[in-house]
């Protein structure tokens, strides 16, 4: 058996590493252009981003060097620390009306970034240990609770987009450890009930579907009944809760789902973003030549809306290249997860892959006007220190798992 440490050679997943480096380079190039606008004062951000990238690459190397058994051993302390920070941040003064950042003077840290990674570790640890136990409680209730705590804390910051990353991690890890599809469906069913209940026929239909699937999967009565009751309860509570929300809260949720309802806010951003991407055409307007970008129609074109700058200046071919890089990265990430012999390592790699794909799809989907507007950055590409360092550190963990794929 190989020992830990840097076994450079055939055990390093060069494909994954190259994809990460190319994406980071792509991001550096894109951010350089995005900060060249008619509003002066942004240019200096590129130098800062280079600093973040350097720090991130160092973090990646460092993370790759740490044997994963340490992550497993310290999963609970890391998780509790991150939850503690999420609680702490709620009591710190608000920044732009939200409690997302801890100001470290030189750097604004987002505890939610750490919380995502900590949740991956802990879910991987719990899932690898309870894989074969028969208790429903251990297999499902504990992971759901572990996910719900940071999710709820991030939700009240408020940061709806980021809070949705937590269930994404949960679903990916549950699936990856071999949860039967029927159970995946049952876990998701209360959420589906909640959505279905907004029209009575669809709710009745869904209840029939649920009952049918109990028969199909031969679910025992002792499990089917409580699950069914939970669904009915969630289904009947949802309209009540909805009715009790304040008008502005309902409005905020509606706008989240459909930015067009907020013509002055997010709807306007989505439209400008679509114009930028669409006007790029096949060939793009040329690097540094984006007119929409230059007139700074988008307030976050170097951070959350970086993809619109890429689409405008580099056109469909640039978009294709970027999507292909992500595809390659995910392909290698999944291969590493599959190749890892240790269940914790394998589940951790899958959790990180799910975060990358979730953020990527949500971000690009938002830019293209097919997903809700959230403050989620584009992995490895968007400007931003917290995000760049965390994403590269996570990539380092995946690389480290690849290096130690034969370890148990």
């Amino acid at each position: 058996m190989r020992s830990g440490g840097f076994g450079v050679g055939r055990d390093l997943d060069a494909g994954f590493l190259i994809a990460v480096l190319l994406l980071s380079a792509f991001g550096a190039v894109a951010v350089y252009s995005a900060v060249q606008t008619d509003q002066p004062g942004l240019e200096g951000l590129w130098n800062r981003q280079m600093l973040w990238l350097a720090a991130g690459l160092a973090a990646m190397a460092a993370m790759a060097a740490v044997p994963f058994r340490y992550w497993e051993a310290f999963a609970w302390p890391i998780y509790l620390l991150s939850v503690g920070l999420l609680v702490l941040v709620l009591f710190l003064p608000a920044h732009m009306k939200t409690h997302r950042w801890i100001d470290l003077g030189f750097f604004q840290a987002q505890p939610s970034e750490l919380a995502k990674l900590a949740t991956v570790f802990l879910l991987a640890r719990i899932s690898s240990q309870t894989r074969k136990t028969g208790s429903v409680l251990l297999r499902y209730a504990v992971p759901i609770a572990v996910t719900a705590a940071p999710m709820a804390l991030v939700l009240v910051e408020p940061d709806l987009g980021t809070s949705l990353s937590f269930p994404a991690i949960l679903l990916a890890i549950l699936f990856w450890r071999g949860t039967p599809l029927s159970d995946m469906f049952f876990i998701l069913s209360p959420v589906l009930s909640m959505v279905a209940v907004f029209s009575m026929p669809s709710f009745v239909l869904f209840m029939l579907l649920l009952a049918g699937s109990f028969l199909l999967f031969r679910t025992g009565f002792a499990r089917a009944l409580p699950l069914f009751l939970v669904n009915i309860a969630v289904g009947s509570m949802a309209p009540v809760v909805w009715g009790h929300l304040k008008e502005y809260q309902r409005k905020r949720i509606m706008i989240f789902l459909n930015p067009g309802l907020d013509p002055r806010g997010s709807g306007w951003h989505v439209l400008q973003s679509k114009i930028a991407v669409g006007s790029g055409g096949v060939l793009g307007k040329g690097y540094l030549g984006g007119s929409q970008k230059k007139l700074s129609f988008l307030p976050a074109q170097h951070t959350d809306f970086i993809f619109s700058t890429i689409g405008e200046e580099l056109g469909l071919w640039g978009v294709s290249l970027l999507l292909a890089l992500y595809g390659w990265l995910l392909y290698r990430g999944i291969a590493i997860a599959r190749g890892a012999r240790n269940p914790f390592a394998s589940l951790t790699a899958m959790g990180i892959v799910s975060l990358i794909v979730f953020n990527t799809v949500l971000n690009i989907g938002m830019t293209l006007g097919v997903m809700p507007v959230t403050g989620i950055p584009l992995p490895f590409v968007s400007y931003g220190g917290s995000a760049a360092i965390t994403m590269l550190a996570m990539a380092g963990i995946v690389l480290g798992i690849g290096l130690r794929r034969y370890e148990y």
Binding site: A172, F175, W176, G178, P180, L181, S182, D183, F217, E247, G260, P263, R264, G265, G267, W268, L271, K274, I275, A276, V277, G278, S279, G280, G281, V282, S291, Q292, L295, G311, E312, G315, L316, V319, S320, L323, Y326, G327, L330, Y331, I334, A335, A337, R338, M350, V353, V357, T360, V361, I364, G365, L368, V370
Partner: protein, 603 residues
């Protein structure tokens, strides 16, 4: 559990899901960049796309008798949208409309310094003749547009102005705070009373549409690829106000009297009429108030912009005697049938000062009922001395003075209930001893109330101690009549025993209906009115005249407080006004006992 997937299948599922997501994003990019390239490319080229806002009409304000007292009307504004090279166009439009060109340019430059990208409203609410002249010459005015704006229209002008409040345009200082909430420079915003309280629901939300301009800044129409976003009109406010009662009450002040009248329904807390005079015309503010109008309103010594019904604070005068009486009964210092040690010879010596009764000849020996009916000061001086300032302050607070009633209007005054500490601090140690309590017991001195507080208190006494929070809002409704917000009914109970309340009710009925009572002017032929007169001593001029009442006395459907400034005795001026208000309301409502007044069948 037979359907567990193997590791290979799981990898394929995850990989498939990832690739499918990326593929969908790719297809969406093709849709935008290849299939819809023409439309987006056109919009982006030379940045020819402009957005114009479609103003949302402001919500209606409707009274309980279905009168629309405020609505929205279109106004046309001339707006500068160009962000550069605007000097020529502004000069030309100034000469076209005979306006001061230098001042106009300075105004534009001033706003642009602070908000370089926002459109500037040059002229608001253009009259038709000017509008026509501009439209004729719009070709020579690149960068200028005529935009439709929604302006407030108060259908009854100054009547009910303190109830409704007014809207006014947002200035640059406010805009800096409000722009994140969707306001634009030059938008209207509710500035007082209901317009301010319910700004968020009355406002609606603006829509927008796009138009393209050619190289000279001229409108080329709305591109088909982009659907306009329709504005959402503001919601309708349904009020508890009885508009005919409001008009009747307003007319009683029409001879230049200053003061306020509040009428409410004791069994619900619904406000039926809310008058404050002098008043002002909210329409003056709608399109931005002209400076001469503003100066006239602001410099008026009678403060027409000040809402006397809920913001002015006066000594309650003898209307306060119900509180003194209630305190004495609850503290068991006297019984209703007891006569005090000293009768009323027309005055009483307290310390080294002589306190007069309003009636020079004196009232002789009275029980509590007669003391209230005849409003004998000497009787209450004695109760005040026994109660002391501390107890009077305590019971004033318990009965709702010194605290805002919580009406759904902004800036309600709380009144003032001075206690021992207050006097120690303001007028010196020990200053609360002796005569201060005697004076306070008849409602003179430092204690202050608003007309709304007195209406609420008298309504609660009439309603057997249950006090409903005064409110105007019955419902907020959207365009389709769906209720967005319902009436808020909250009550509490005055801390008085049923015995005390019935003593007060009988005495107040006597004030109006018994021989020798001070409130005879409010008497009603068919219905028993119960009330109390008051005269508030005013160190700055003539005394203020009070009357507070409810009717019918046994189960009241209306409570009224009237204050007329500098009008002398309550019995002479305020009582007849209150009487007319009561009669006007009951005459119309007697035959139709509505659902809001189930116990209205009378005697």
């Amino acid at each position: 559990m037979t359907q567990e997937l193997g590791s290979r299948e799981r990898s394929l599922v995850v990989l498939g899901a990832c690739m499918a997501s990326l593929l969908l994003l790719f297809l969406r990019s093709i849709q935008l960049q290849v299939l819809e390239y023409e439309s987006y490319g056109g919009l982006s080229r030379q940045n020819r796309l402009r957005r114009i806002d479609l103003a949302a009409p402001r919500g209606l304000v409707i009274t309980s008798d279905s009168i629309i007292i405020a609505e929205s009307r279109p106004g046309f504004n001339l707006v500068l949208v160009a962000t550069a090279d605007w000097g020529g166009a502004v000069r030309r439009v100034a000469s076209l409309l005979d306006a001061d060109s230098a001042a106009l340019q300075a105004a534009v430059a001033g706003q642009r310094r602070q908000f370089p990208r926002d459109p500037v409203v040059l002229f608001r609410d253009l009259p038709p003749a000017m509008l026509a002249r501009i439209e004729e010459h719009l070709d020579q005015l690149p960068g200028l547009r005529i935009e439709t704006n929604a302006l407030r229209k108060a259908n009854y002008g100054p009547l009910g102005s303190h109830l409704l409040g007014y809207t006014s345009r947002i200035g640059t200082v406010e805009y800096a705070k409000l722009k994140d909430r969707g306001y634009r420079l030059g938008d209207d915003i509710g500035k007082g009373s209901l317009e301010r309280q319910f700004e968020s629901v009355l406002r609606g939300s603006d829509g927008y549409e796009f138009y393209e301009v050619d190289a000279r800044g001229r409108d080329r129409g709305v591109p088909e690829a982009l659907d306009p976003v329709q504005p959402l009109p503001g919601a309708t406010l349904r009020l508890s106000i009885d508009w005919r009662l409001q008009l009747a009450a307003e007319s009683l002040f029409s001879d230049g009297r200053k003061g306020a009248a509040v009428a409410l329904e004791p069994s619900t807390g619904r406000i039926l009429a809310l008058v404050s005079r002098p008043n002002f015309d909210p329409n003056l503010f709608a399109a931005g108030i002209r400076s001469e109008d503003w100066n006239r309103l602001a410099a008026d010594p009678d403060f027409p912009l000040w809402d006397r019904a809920i913001r002015s604070q006066y000594p309650p005068g003898s209307t306060f005697k119900v509180i003194t009486a209630a305190a004495a009964l609850e503290e068991m210092l006297t019984a209703p049938e007891d006569r005090l040690r000293q009768g009323c010879p027309g005055g009483i010596r307290i310390g080294n000062r002589y306190f007069k009764c309003w009636k020079k000849g004196g009232h002789g020996s009275l029980d509590m009922h007669q003391a209230i009916v005849q409003s004998c000061d000497v009787y209450f001086y004695q109760l005040g001395l026994q109660l002391t300032v501390e107890k009077l302050a305590l019971w004033s607070r318990r009965l709702g003075l010194g605290a805002a009633t919580g009406i759904d209007l902004p800036q309600e005054a709380a009144g003032l209930v001075p206690d021992r500490d207050w006097y120690e601090l303001r007028t010196g140690p020990g200053s609360w001893r002796g005569g201060v309590a005697a004076n306070m017991a008849i409602g003179q001195g430092e204690l202050l109330t608003t007309p709304l507080q007195l209406a609420s208190l008298y309504g609660a006494i009439g309603n057997d101690g249950i006090r409903w929070r005064p409110h105007l809002l019955i419902a907020v409704e959207n365009e389709t009549g769906e209720t967005l917000r319902k009436e808020l009914r909250i009550n509490d109970r005055l801390p008085l025993s049923p015995g005390t309340i019935s003593v007060l009710k009988r005495a107040l009925t006597g004030v109006v209906n018994e021989p020798g009572g001070t409130g005879a002017a409010a008497r009603h032929a068919d219905v028993e009115v119960a009330g109390k007169t008051g005269t508030a001593q005013n160190p700055h001029g003539d005394d203020h005249s009070w009357f507070a009442c409810f009717a019918p006395a046994d189960s009241p459907r209306i409570a009224v407080a009237v204050l007329v400034e500098n009008a002398g005795h309550g019995s002479a001026v305020a009582a007849p006004i209150a009487g007319v208000i009561v009669r006007s309301y009951l005459a119309r409502r007697a035959s139709v006992p509505g659902p809001s007044a189930p116990q209205a069948s009378g005697q």
